[in-house]
Amino acid sequence: MKDFLISFLSFLDPQWINLIWSLLQIAIVTICLILTVVFLVYFERKVIGYMHARVGPNRVGPKGTLQSIADTIKLLLKEVIIPDKADRFFFLLSPLLLLIPALAAWAVIPFSPEFIIADINAGLLYLLALTSFGVYGVILAGWASNSKYAFLGSMRAAAQMVAYEIAMGFALVGVLMAGGSLKLGEIVAAQTGGVLSWFWIPLFPLFIVYFISGIAETNRHPFDLAEGEAEIVAGFHVEYSGIGFAIFFLAEYINMALISVLTSIMFLGGWESFFAGIPFLESSVFSFLTEPSIFWLLLKTLFFLFVFIWLRASFPRYRYDQLMSLGWKVLIPITILWIGVECIMYVMQIGPWSVT
């Protein structure tokens, strides 16, 4: 596709072609993300409905598939109310502060061996930086709303996100050691060769810890203390309506998808196939099943998104002190312990990776 672009726009400077190409990729990824969110809202309601032994939305469109579009239209048509004593500038800015990092983080995601917007060297570091940036949006939203509930919610969210950021960072240190690179593409490449050589076996505790911290990081059930309906109404976005609320919603779901895609990239071999490394399949007509493609990544991501929703349907919310003690007293020690174990394995040459 890029070759086509180059031949079509050959009169332009190569720099300009690169710029247009990048913009095109960004547009594709952003539109796909928004469509993912549209799908995810429907998927979530349907899955939770099924888990409650009911059928979920089935009125709008065939089998209710247009439900989230109807929801979106309703949200966009609603009046945007800005509270009288709110700080107007930050009140309007904070949804964007949450959305922009959530979208920007997708720049370094390798969807397939070829398709990656920005293959930068410090990809993992960039991701850590951007995922923690979201907390500013939450704090500012709570503060600018000038409401006690919103403020309490944002304080909770901030403490929670900071606590789980550490466990998440440590889990990523393990991945970094195993993958030997900060480039996400190289981390996936290090996992080539079948289900058993993916990082989820040698790094199993880190895999679990990473996913749990990911859930806490996105303020999803069972860690959604920041918007605990029972205690603080809706938390940091209680004063938002219409488009403001829609953007918070969008950011939350994009973050969910981001955590899912990152978990699959770092622990489940990203674009690698489930069937890779099975000699029987590789030599037969089903060899296309063993080839790496974006399809496998999407499948793994969908599985983790399902787990997100599954969790929401299954468990009640954590109490705040339980949440904090889980973060500080359980997850962080486990990650540190496992990094120690990994160091020993690394030096003793046990495990799938080798010292270069």
Binding site: Y50, R54, V55, W310, S314, F315, V330
Partner: protein, 161 residues
Amino acid sequence: MNIIQLIKKLTLIDFIKGFIVTLKAFFRRKVTVQYPEVKTPLSPRFRGKLALMRYDNGEERCIACKLCSAVCPAQAISIESEERADGSRRTTKFEIDAFKCIYCGFCEEACPVDSIVETDIFEYHMTENEQRIQTKEMLLATGDEYREQTIENKKKDSRYR
């Protein structure tokens, strides 16, 4: 914390159990009734919208004994009566406040002439607050409208009364 608890916590065994419960429910047969298109069967004893019945010759049954108004736990019924020209006692005002009514059916039980009855109509609404007062004319009209099905329902239920 003893060692068993620690192992339980670290293996997330309780979480896995919880996951299995919801996953089983996920594949269970769904029993949701698609309400406006599909309706669940109603018992002939169903207590719905109130109505006043007439005799076969068109004469209203109510004799203004006020038993229904006396037995009503929500005090939703108010009755005024006068002697009519032919010497019989009839109501001049028979009003039910539909918002007060709790559909207990005591009025129907109390009525000596089977005048006030509860139909099996439950899909009705008011658009204005004043419409909650069901006047005698409205109640009689309801009775006329659903006369056949109400009589049929009462017949079906009669051997259990």
